[in-house]
Symmetry: C2
Subunit: 172 residues, 2 copies
């Protein structure tokens, strides 16, 4: 499975949502996500290109470690993730051993599916509104074609390659 | 609730178990416990009197932080604990950010209840067999009296104040 995604600012999410519904997109759900990225007690995660994240997604709590990108061309990186029982307590454990909550990314994400492309309509606190198109499937070329076609058809413009975390860090 | 416990080596757990059953003790269950204590990437947990532990107990996985003892008289310390979905993945997250598995305490624990005293019959890998008597209740004096009476009655001798972790560390 290859994950292919493109993201761009979207000044009018409501209009986009209406268009998607007209085109037959199916609402997959609403996700209420709050991510907290921690700094390391003795390592500069910015320099090592790693991240330690706690995510609340609706009622689910998860911890994720992201390793450095494995090469320059792709965004491939080691990702280790698991559910935890209680986010506040997990955060406290991390803080007690010297990690500090450093960046907070809060977003409401509404997900639609159209022609095997996932549309994530994101309202990101402090950054504004974005849409992310994601194709998950075996055929990379077909995915690229489909994403570009839908992007053109919906008159979506731009290509934001930076993650929300990177955007927030650069804004600070 | 005050937790009151006493622990001692027990050369013949089988004989003790028979005596407990004769006296009407109720079998509470068998616990298969494996604890891994981690060292910190930049802090000496031995010096700060802290601990970070992953515990597998039968099918349950937990992470626990133990803070320094709060005073010299009691064993009171902050303890933050939560369940995690997957022990191997949690361990990997910790290792990736610089923690190292340092000590491993493995034991089989069989628990009996007799007169509101819990008897933990422990077989500890590398240390041998122990019994722990624990009273959990509101009346400290009553608990002490009961524990001492049962200890005498069962001809249990000794009083090991060190934890299994401390015993293993001193053995190394």
């Amino acid at each position: 499975m290859i994950e292919l995604e493109i993201k761009m600012p979207c000044p009018d999410l409501k209009a986009l949502e209406r268009r998607l519904i007209e085109m037959g997109a199916r609402l997959e759900g609403d996700l209420d996500q709050e991510d907290v990225y921690f700094s390391h007690p003795s390592r500069d995660f910015g320099a090592t290109d790693e991240a330690l994240r706690l995510r609340r997604e609706n009622d689910r709590s998860r911890i994720t470690y992201k390793g450095p990108k494995l090469d320059l061309d792709t965004k491939m990186r080691e990702e280790i993730e698991l559910d935890v029982e209680d986010l506040a307590r997990m955060s406290l454990v991390l803080e007690r051993v010297g990690f500090k909550p450093h960046y907070r990314v809060v977003k409401c994400r509404r997900v639609y599916l159209l022609q095997s492309v996932q549309f994530c309509l994101d309202r990101v606190e402090g950054l504004g509104d974005f849409v992310e198109l994601e194709y998950e499937g075996p055929d990379l070329e077909e995915g690229k074609r489909k994403i570009m076609e839908l992007k053109r058809h919906l008159k979506l413009e731009g290509n934001e390659r930076r993650s929300y975390l990177e955007l927030l860090m650069q804004k600070k």
